[in-house]
Symmetry: C2
Subunit: 257 residues, 2 copies
């Protein structure tokens, strides 16, 4: 099982939308996918049609209690399971804030689970922050995919993500973690701003930026209100096509095609 964190401390860049919809197309392609909702907002949980209040989150596991293999629940899509989030997760920042081993709190259980997990990919949807939950995700992942909105403020956050990852690597908890890719999201073909951001990202990070660019498409914003992925809600939309293309590119990069 490959652990991939969708992470960017900048808010509203498409982390949840990418985790859920990339997950959906990977599942349709026959991959076994587990999404871990690590955001107390529980947006991935709601988007996949589940009620956060009714489920157990990864919270207890990170405090050393509970058995992670009992947490995954089925979604409406075959091959796509979820470890839900709920409001308890926001307690992690305080509960683990002063814990010097906090970086291992997600890494250790996930490493143990890897050996028995029936999944090909684990996609972690991270909250927008520089706090404990996000750093634990970076310390637990094999690779990071960074969604970057085609906006200036999102672009300047990229260098901070690279610095943060170098810090995590230096702690020795997860020295092998790499940035696997950068996905440009919410591209509006009519504006120069979008072109400028895409050009800048391709210049700074070309070897890891995905060729697939996700366009701004209202269907992607509507789908969560129906508790559906774009695959179920509007499979013929431009948003769906883009995530399908992204999925194919992701599989190619992971040698699965």
């Amino acid at each position: 099982m490959k652990i991939v964190a969708l992470s960017n401390h900048k808010g509203g860049v498409g982390k949840t939308t990418t985790a859920v919809n990339l997950g959906a197309y990977l599942a349709r392609a026959g991959q076994k996918v587990l999404v871990l909702d690590l955001d107390p907002q529980a947006n991935a949980t709601e988007t996949l049609g589940l009620n956060p209040e009714e489920h157990t989150s990864i919270y207890e596991t990170m405090l050393g209690q509970g058995d992670i293999s009992r947490l995954p629940v089925a979604t409406n899509l075959e091959n796509l399971h979820l470890i839900p989030a709920n409001a308890d997760l926001s307690g992690i920042e305080v509960d683990l804030g002063a814990d010097e081993h906090r970086l291992a709190r997600l890494h250790a259980p996930l490493q143990n689970y890897k050996a028995i997990a029936p999944y090909d990919y684990l996609l972690i949807d991270c909250p927008p922050s520089l706090g404990v939950l996000m750093t634990c995700a970076l310390a637990a992942a094999d690779e990071i995919v960074i969604p970057v909105q085609c906006e200036y403020l999102s672009l300047i956050g990229l260098t901070k993500m690279v610095d943060l990852l170098n810090e995590i690597r230096a702690t020795g908890v997860n020295p092998g973690v790499v940035i696997e890719g950068i996905v440009l999201t919410m591209a509006d073909g009519r504006t120069n701003l979008t072109e400028e951001v895409i050009n800048e990202v391709r210049q700074q990070m070309n070897s890891i930026a995905y060729d697939t660019v996700i366009p701004r498409n209202v269907k992607l914003g509507e789908a969560p209100s129906h508790g559906k992925t774009i695959l179920e809600y509007a499979p013929d939309s431009k948003g769906a096509e883009a995530y399908e293309t992204l999925c194919n590119e992701f599989l190619q990069r992971h040698g699965a095609v």
Copy 2:
């Protein structure tokens, strides 16, 4: 000095854009405005044309050191000053995480400063999170303005904000804090999703939702890359007009006209 926090744990909803541009128009209307950048991303600092690395943030003040009245720096706009952010701020989550008096760490110095501060309004730009920085801001503010993007995932975050505020009030640190207003942002007049979210917010929260709705306008996304507010960058744009109207409505609500 009235302390107003721009807060919403949902990311990318327009907190920074509203803090900076509402601040700019209030300053142009002759109000003395101080923006406090409480986000380690330091987006408000960059948008106002300053370099985060070169300045002292509120970090030391929250740890009980330093004198807050030495922190404000001038911006390019008369009547608009800033307490910058820098990367040190992200240390607050860990440094104050286990401190049982953490909710008073911003409240106390700001209350003391209120008596001598030469400003009419202090606008706090909050990070997207449920962590220590955000809760300290809610505990320090007189009133909260919540930007809500015209998207479903932003709408469902609203009830969490209301719950969080009730929790803060119950701690007794800041029993008088209220939600002063909700500002709808990034409205795209061509989509039903925008209309549905606006209708839902007006139904749920009509007495506090602002009449002014901020449209999606690329100039608002371009301005930060030039280190300018919309007032300086594109004063005739739809984005500028909307923030000017919001400023007038804000002043009316605060009995200043």
